[in-house]
């Protein structure tokens, strides 16, 4: 089973995000991490390969040139190799451009299954996996809470508001992972050490057969017009004491305000 996982390095949201003069996140100024939802997809991919007893997981990312260090973490979790598509002219890409580039990257790889995270913590659009599937011509199976590959096919439980749908498609296919697939593993020491020598292949735009398909910032069909901070919440009181103490404090708080 050969699986490609789409992974995006995103700004570490535990830090303070900084915006550049173009009103976009200044990616060089903020440490990058693997997008959390993509870690669920990677975990699912690793489990599928382990269960199959054979196969390999390749990471495919489009990111600035500094990304290899972030991808090392994904490699430390257990993926065999990473492919990084990086090109200065890709700065400022919108989702459409990202779709075109990732699809072109996929065309150069061999795989049975493509996994992606539901959305990214920076862009949050959630449309890239669907776009890539359509672009490459792969069946698109979204919101998977269970993935069961069979002979030439894959069966997926797709989460729905009322439960889940059981859907099936021929391989190769693209499946969007959800957190219901299970917590991502943390890299072990052996994984971290092994990642040191794993291959990160870098492709520039010239390596992709994009023809005259427009990509990158210059071709973006969306534009950032303005940004604003969400209103900060009023001071919050957090009660962290053990339950015996906390309950009394909560009751007192509510009583003071005549809410009980």
């Amino acid at each position: 089973m050969r699986i490609v996982v789409l992974v995006k390095p995103v700004p570490d949201t535990t830090g303070q995000e900084r915006l550049g003069p173009d009103l976009r996140v200044d990616r060089a100024a903020v440490p990058a991490v693997v997008n959390a939802n993509d870690e669920y997809a990677l975990e699912a991919a690793l489990k599928l390969v382990e269960a199959a007893g054979e196969g390999e997981v390749t990471i495919l990312a489009m990111a600035p040139a500094a990304a290899p260090e972030t991808l090392r973490k994904a490699l430390a979790m257990g993926a065999q190799r990473a492919v990084l598509i990086s090109d200065p002219s890709l700065a400022g890409s919108d989702t459409l451009s990202t779709v075109r580039v990732l699809a072109a990257g996929l065309r150069r790889l061999e795989y049975d299954l493509v996994l992606a995270g539901a959305d990214t913590s920076d862009g949050g659009a959630g449309v890239v996996p669907a776009g890539v599937a359509v672009s490459v011509g792969l069946p698109y199976l979204s919101y998977a809470s269970k993935i069961e590959p069979g002979a030439g096919r894959v069966l997926v439980h797709r989460l729905s508001p009322s439960g889940y749908d059981v859907i099936e498609a021929a391989l190769p296919a693209l499946v969007v992972a959800t957190q219901a697939l299970g917590e991502p593993r943390y890299p072990s020491l052996r994984g971290i050490m092994a990642a040191r020598s794993k291959e990160i292949i870098t492709w520039s735009l010239a390596d992709l057969e994009l023809g005259d398909t427009p990509v990158g910032g210059a071709a973006a069909t969306t534009d950032v017009v303005s940004v604003r901070q969400p209103a900060t919440r009023a001071a919050t009181r957090v009660v962290r004491e053990p339950a015996t103490v906390a309950a009394a404090q909560v009751v007192e708080f509510l009583a003071e305000r005549r809410l009980i």
Partner: protein
Amino acid sequence: MDFSRNPESDAIRNAVAQLCAAYPDSYWQQLDVTGAYPSDFVAALTRDGWLSVLIPTEYGGAGLGLAEAGAILEEINRAGGHAAAAHAQMYTMGTLLKHGSEEQKHRYLPAIASGELRLQAFAVTEPDAGSETTRIRTMARRDGDAYRITGQKIFISRAEHSDLMLLLARTTPYDDLEDKTRGLSVFLVDLRTAVEKGQVEIRPIRVMLNHHTTEVFINELEVPTANLVGEEGEGFRHIIDGWNAERILVASEAIGDGRWFTERAARYATERVVFGRPVGANQGVQFPIAQAYADLEAASLLRDKAAWLFDSGRACGPEANMAKLQASRASWAAANACLDAHGGYGFASEYHVERKFRETRLLIAAPVSNNLLLAYLAQHVLHMPRSY
């Protein structure tokens, strides 16, 4: 000078922090109450290879340095845990690695790296020889192709949780020596068979923290000459290099404790409202916490320098000693600031501050007392008269 982030070291820290998250405050508190050993935590550390980082790859370890080993121990203590339960498995083998024969290294290091063999007891201290190591009396007499050893050791930690023990014993009587730092030798003892044969008896000592330290009674213990580590009579010199490693790692644990204290103190002081505002709004509460934080940062830099010196094979005695001195003091200051910020709740075991307080206090006194570190600096760095 390059202070930029090292992604691999971040990955190590994150992975250890995630492992520790499965062993929350309540886990350590429970052990503290019962005095039990954190067997499952140590098993998890072993399983993931964290205790083998200092062993070279050719012997099955990760071949990393004290910088990484220190980061691991720091993260454990920062997460509220107590790395002392397992830290010696990392570095006790250092004496074997540096001074052991190829045969000894091939025989023991791979099994130590995998965790199959635990070498996490090091017997130096005796009732009449603590700070003054060269006064130890446990005597090893050569008898054919074995040594027969008799004596008593005290405060020997984790002896009940170790398969092997490094033992420092006298091979030349004190009075026959001109140079009192000679005449001692290091032995690798198989505790399992020694206890079974009744040649070693281990008795636990309850101390102020959950530390699994013991008294070790040694009676006609037979150790094959093949288990002499390094040269006979050079034992004191052989273990000194290991002491530097130990000091840098203990400094890292103190820094981890200190970070736990400052993080907890800052959080509690921000949330606890007294006189209509958070207690942390008072300078009397926040300044000691901020000062402890600054002291910890300084100690951490000293620790990083000492680790870098050690890892690049350079002499690091003064830096290792200063790192342990400053880190243990900074953590103790942080412990007091944290306890003060918590008011009465700091004394309640549910808040874990009093447990960490007891744990970090040890680091001022052991594995070496800070007084002896000052004596070292005064004499060997500042060239003042020897004070003892």
